[in-house]
């Protein structure tokens, strides 16, 4: 599961990890909201938020390399906005402000998601009165993401091992059949999970 390093960090220990998840989420949300709504010329405010978040990131001992890699994924969006700004200097928000806002918000979200197990986030959402059906759906999704992703990888490998020349037409059909099999298996598994839930008293 090299494509998903998140869960490796959520169980280390630091002040940020030990913070109550609901407090942490509320703080992050307030910070992101304030950053999103702050006027463009509040440079000091952006600097303060940046200092706070960088400090927290360092304290939490989340690998910086990973955080930076993730932040770089934002750059295409920011470059696009910057390019448009170059041709339309009359747009109300200059691209630097958009870039600052999105980088800071992403840093805040990353810090929360990297230091809080997803189950805890779900608990907070449940207490915040998010409908139970949506919570159950997300909990099951989170539980079986990895199972299905592994299943898909195994299927693709098995199919590729019998594909001798990768022609595009064949590749499309292979990929479509992998995805369709994935759905068939997911729905069969859904039935078995429902049985298992019933066997232990689900109502």
């Amino acid at each position: 599961m090299s494509w998903l390093p998140h869960s490796h960090f959520t169980h280390s220990d630091s002040i940020v990890h030990r913070m109550r998840p609901d407090v942490k989420l509320a703080c992050a949300f307030a910070l992101i909201l304030a950053t999103a709504l702050a006027p463009g010329h509040w440079t000091a405010w952006y600097a303060a938020v940046f200092a706070l978040l960088t400090g927290a990131t360092l304290v939490s001992r989340v690998p910086l390399k990973f955080v930076i890699q993730r932040l770089l994924l934002l750059s295409p969006f920011i470059l696009a906005i910057a390019a448009v700004n170059a041709f339309h200097p009359d747009v109300r928000t200059p691209w630097q402000v958009v870039a600052a806002k999105s980088l800071l918000s992403l840093l805040a979200v990353l810090l929360v998601t990297l230091t809080t197990p997803f189950g805890k986030i779900l608990q907070v959402l449940r207490r915040a009165k998010v409908p139970a059906l949506l919570i159950t759906t997300m909990a099951l999704m989170h539980r079986y993401l990895f199972v299905l992703a592994d299943e898909s990888e195994r299927m693709q490998r098995a199919r590729l091992s019998r594909t001798f020349r990768k022609r595009k037409g064949i590749w499309w059909r292979l990929s479509a059949s992998v995805v369709s099999q994935l759905f068939v298996r997911a729905s069969q598994r859904a039935e078995r999970i429902y049985d298992a839930m019933c066997a232990r008293g689900w109502k």
Binding site: A36, H41, V109
Partner: protein
């Protein structure tokens, strides 16, 4: 199409979030009322399926590859309300687990891809399905619905960016619409191929019963969809629309909450003839594209499904 934080201003994010809460709330209520208990676990597994399916690559041009987005496929398989719930779960998990898409922008993302995406897919699917009988019609309809859902979501995304003052509408609309008219072709093709393979393997899994009984919910969404459709297709011609929205915002006092313009007040650039022409041209291309894609979808259905198999509807 996941909008990151910082790209929307307060009023846009707020309005989009309110619309999403309404849409998802209605979908949840409908699911609770009508979904058999045995299918509860299918929602979560479908969400996990979409996530895993998005990691399967389809080669496009040169070294690039695309992947399934899935709102049309899941709408065709599960029905409208469950599909909205599933897509919403996917977007929330992507936001909080992979920090994909912003937190303040979550409402807008849910609106574009879950609510509007699935509603568009649902109505375009059921409308296009009537064009041809049997599995052929379904496959063609899924392809068409996949394209429509992607394009509709992209247009509202552009509108949100424009309304937030981050991009001029005259740039955002043509760029997003034209780009996603291309992406939508891939999405339609993938959705159709996957749908056909599922129906061949397990015909019982596709829930394609057309909405014959019409509870109030259907008429409400139909009304919403029609209104949205009109708005989407008329918006480009009414080049004063951003102004119109602005004046509404001013009347309701939103404007004070919005970001103060750091640069001097913008000269509305859509009055420049060349640029407003690009908006009009995009709208014409969109209308023509819809017809062409619809015909292509029908051809795809004929190509993929032999007449004999189509006779036994899945």
């Amino acid at each position: 199409m996941h909008i990151p934080d910082g790209f929307l201003d307060g009023k846009t994010a707020g309005v989009a979030a309110a619309l999403s809460v309404c849409g998802v709330g209605m979908a949840l209520r409908q699911v609770k009322r009508e979904l058999p208990p045995r299918k509860t676990s299918l929602l979560g597994l479908s969400a996990a399926f979409l996530f895993a399916a998005q990691m399967v690559n389809f080669p496009i041009l040169g070294g690039t590859s695309g992947h399934l987005i899935g709102s049309a496929l899941i709408t065709a398989l599960l029905g409208l309300a469950p599909a909205i719930v599933v897509m919403t779960a996917v977007l929330i998990v992507q936001c909080f687990l992979f920090s994909d898409g912003g937190v303040v922008a979550l409402g807008a993302n849910v609106f574009n891809m879950a609510v509007l995406g699935c509603v568009t897919a649902h109505f375009s699917f059921h409308a296009a399905r009537r064009a041809m009988p049997g599995t052929r019609g379904e496959v063609a309809a899924v392809a068409f619905a996949g394209w429509c859902a992607v394009v509709a979501g992209a247009i509202t995304c552009a509108a949100q960016l424009a309304w937030s003052g981050r991009l001029p509408w005259t740039t955002a609309f043509p760029a997003m619409a034209l780009l996603h008219m291309l992406i939508g072709i891939g999405e339609g093709l993938i959705s159709a191929l996957v749908y056909l393979a599922i129906v061949r393997a397990r015909p019982d899994l596709a829930n394609t019963s057309s909405p014959t009984h019409a509870p109030p919910w259907t008429s409400v969404t139909l009304g919403m969809a029609v209104a949205l459709g009109i708005a989407i297709f008329l918006a480009p011609f009414a080049s004063t629309l951003p102004d119109g929205l602005e004046s509404v915002a001013q009347r309701f006092g939103f404007e004070h909450a919005a970001v103060a313009p750091p640069v001097s007040a913008p000269m509305p650039d859509y009055e420049v003839p060349g640029i407003s022409w690009s908006v009009g041209a995009t709208a014409v291309a969109g209308a023509a594209g819809t017809v062409i894609v619809f015909l292509l979808a029908l051809a795809l259905g004929r190509l993929l499904v032999p007449r004999k198999q189509s006779a036994t509807p899945g």
